[in-house]
């Protein structure tokens, strides 16, 4: 990990260095991977406490490894695209309007 060098004007922060930022991101990706691995190991080796009762449709889906991760990821991506569609700031019928809209 590169060390930040001292600067004259405004001292650069640790986060100002792109290599530090990408190191942080790499750590984060590994962490995501680690959680999935832990989930898989836990599902295989131990009894997972599903919150749905056995026999419910979602019970089997819910205890699948990484179900929650995939759900979180898909929801976020879907949310961003859907809200882009709803906002449609360039079009006429979108919900996003210019700042002085109420004063007009």
């Amino acid at each position: 990990m590169p060390k930040p060098s001292k600067k004259k004007k405004e001292a650069k922060d640790w986060l100002d260095y792109p290599e530090n930022r990408s190191w942080l991101l790499r750590c984060f990706y590994w962490l995501c991977g680690l959680i999935v691995v832990v989930d898989v190991v836990f599902t295989l080796g131990w009894h997972k406490h599903a919150i749905f009762k056995e026999g419910e449709t979602l019970h089997t889906v819910e205890i699948l490894p990484a179900f929650y991760g995939i759900f979180g990821f898909v929801v976020c991506v879907g949310l961003v695209y859907l809200s882009k569609l709803l906002g449609n700031s360039t079009g006429k019928c979108g919900l996003i309007k210019e700042e002085d809209y109420w004063d007009k």
Partner: protein, 604 residues
């Protein structure tokens, strides 16, 4: 209130007394002394709530009616603790404020909330309910801008309507059932039987709980409030509504649907919104949705979860509002398009903001131990779609409050702003709030023991729960990171987002203009017809009527020889001229006068 009717007391003072006195003192004192009242009053109040015995009551005679002004039960005490802790934190946070209206009304607002929590019957509930509306608006007006003033009036419109609906509901029920309708008993059965009074009461509470369609006051008012305002506002009004829903409508199925909608729709708005305090407002509606679902499910555990979540929510949402308030105070700006990189000069505020963001959902924080009770209960009771909605809402709100806000305010693109760190009192308030968030997250049994049913049988720290929760949160962040990396995340631009308020702010305006055009048009037409037309003609007639009548009569009079021999036209002109100049012989005037009289006689 109770102090005045000392004869009817079974418990020393009303639980809100300390806050009421504090509020009055803060109104009289100035400078730091007023601020001291903000901190001291909640501490005394907290101690007093702690000393209250369960089951104690207090009666009050008002206008000849015997009111049950206070009834102490576990839920009331729980909300009593919550409101005092919230008032204390908000008091520390507002210590530097020198506007006596904001300070005193802040404490009176907290006192009204305590009054609602302890209200023993519907009439005392109504009185405190109105108190909430009036005292809270000063946190918006305190900003002293035109936008804040207008927004305050819109806010007041909603809350006064809520009070009136509550009163209507109470009166409807009183006429139907008599005295028993005033008791603070669950109305779920009445609601499901279609009782009008119960529906009106639900609507009244629904306005304060920001039910879909009735929610716009929240994002409108909070965003225009002072930098300290939302810290007060977010703690009391909506939580009073949750407290009342839990008391009056436990197990009402309609609440499950309403709550599920509340958990989902604000997420989209939160994504589009540029004003970061509005983002928090939408997150707030979403979290109240969780509580509403919990109350709708109606099992002991679900209601416990809803109440517990109200406690956690006040703490972490307050913390997030505090960090945004600090940013607004130091930079005068809270739009994400204008912020970024503030961690460089406001590291403590950034740190507390991140703690608040983690408290939304992360293990070891308060949100984790309360929200999951509701989600689990939804699943356990077989509400599959609702569970999916709640999980969606949980992920969405974390993406906004937990990722979007810290990222765009404190990190992200450097805005070049280098404001000073927040004042010490603000940091202290954020520190206290963060500590309680962590303390409850690490010791959930402490929170559970205060709940009406003790959240019996629920253990948040189950390995599966921790793993799945971490997974959902990390993958939500991952989605954000990847979308940013591939530049698919929408750019933050200065904008406003249209909500239901469009109906009354734009369509309503159009309606006003249309009505103005129509009725003013009618007015103009009538004016032209009567004032300009008929009256003018009557006026002309009364001024020159005799000339016209005589010139009209000239021909027949000439025919019968009354005007003598000579040219008919000349005789007519002579007579008209004489009439105009008033030079008639007396006999002719008398003759015409007699004709008029005869005409009147015949008509009569």
């Amino acid at each position: 209130m109770n102090v005045l009717a000392a004869s009817g007391l079974e418990i020393g003072f009303h639980p809100a007394t300390a806050l009421l006195i504090g509020g009055l003192v803060a109104a009289v004192l100035r400078g730091r002394f007023a601020s001291m009242a903000l901190v001291i009053a909640p501490v005394f109040g907290l101690w007093y709530i702690h000393s209250l015995e369960l089951g104690a009551v207090s009666h009050l005679s008002l206008f000849g009616y015997d009111l049950l002004a206070v009834e102490v039960d576990k839920q009331a005490k729980f909300f009593g603790y919550l409101f005092h802790v919230a008032a204390l934190i908000a008091g520390i946070y507002s210590f530097h404020v020198r506007d006596p209206w904001q300070l005193s009304m802040g404490l009176l607002y907290a006192a009204s909330a305590v009054g609602v929590a302890f209200a023993g019957d519907m009439i005392s509930l109504f009185l405190w309910w109105e108190g909430l509306a009036i005292t809270s608006v000063f946190q918006i007006w305190g900003r002293k801008t035109k936008a804040a003033e207008e927004s305050g009036f819109r806010y007041l419109f909603f809350h006064i309507s809520s009070g009136l609906l509550l009163l209507c509901g109470i009166l409807f029920r009183y006429h139907g059932e008599g005295e028993s309708a005033l008791a603070m008993e669950p109305l779920t059965e009445a609601l499901e039987a279609g009782d009008v009074g119960a529906i009106l009461i639900l609507l009244a509470v629904g306005i304060k709980a920001a039910f879909p369609g009735l929610h716009t006051w929240l994002k409108d008012g909070y965003a225009e409030a002072t930098h300290t305002g939302p810290v007060w506002l977010c703690a009391f009004t909506t939580k009073c509504a949750v407290c009342m829903l839990a008391r009056l409508f436990p197990g009402a199925e309609v609440l499950i649907v309403i709550g599920a909608v509340m958990a989902v729709f604000p997420i989209f708005y939160g994504m589009m919104e540029n004003d970061l305090r509005r983002v928090l407002c939408y997150g707030k509606i979403n979290q109240i949705g969780f509580m509403v679902v919990g109350i709708g499910i109606g099992t002991d555990l679900a209601i416990d979860g809803a109440i517990a979540h109200a406690f956690s929510h006040v703490l972490y949402k307050g913390l997030l509002f505090m960090s945004m308030g600090a940013v607004l105070y130091r930079t005068g700006e809270v739009r994400s398009s204008h912020l970024g990189g503030l961690y460089k000069s406001m590291p403590w505020t950034a740190g507390f903001n991140i703690l608040g963001a983690m408290a939304v959902s992360f293990p070891l924080f308060c949100g984790f131990v309360s929200k999951s009770v509701i989600i689990t209960e939804a699943a356990q009771n077989g509400y599959m779609v609702v569970w999916l909605c709640l999980l969606f809402g949980a992920v969405g709100v974390f993406l906004q409050a937990g990722v979007k806000i810290p990222f765009f305010a404190f990190f992200g693109k450097d805005s070049g702003l280098r404001p000073k760190e927040a004042p010490v009192n603000m940091l202290l308030a954020m520190g206290v709030s963060s500590f309680i968030c962590l303390f409850i997250g690490c010791n959930p049994e402490w929170l559970y023991s205060l709940l009406p049913h003790g959240a019996a049988g629920y253990h948040p720290y189950d390995a599966t729960h921790v793993i799945t929760q971490l997974q959902v949160l990390f993958f939500a962040i991952l989605a954000f990171v990847l979308l940013r990396k591939f530049e698919k995340y929408p750019r933050e631009v200065p904008s406003v987002v249209l909500d239901i308020d469009w109906v009354y702010r734009k369509a309503g305006q159009g309606f006003m203009l249309g009505m103005g055009w129509f009725w003013n048009g009618c007015n103009g037409l009538v004016h032209r017809l009567f004032v300009g037309g008929l009256v003018k003609k009557v006026n002309t007639f009364s001024k020159a009527g005799q000339v016209h009548v005589l010139s009209f009569l000239a021909d027949p009079m000439h025919e019968i020889g009354l005007l003598g021999e000579g040219d008919k036209q000349k005789a007519k002109e002579r007579m008209t001229l004489r009439a105009r100049l008033g030079l008639h012989p007396i006999g002719l005037t008398a003759f015409v006068g007699m004709l008029f009289l005869l005409g009147f006689l015949l008509l009569a």
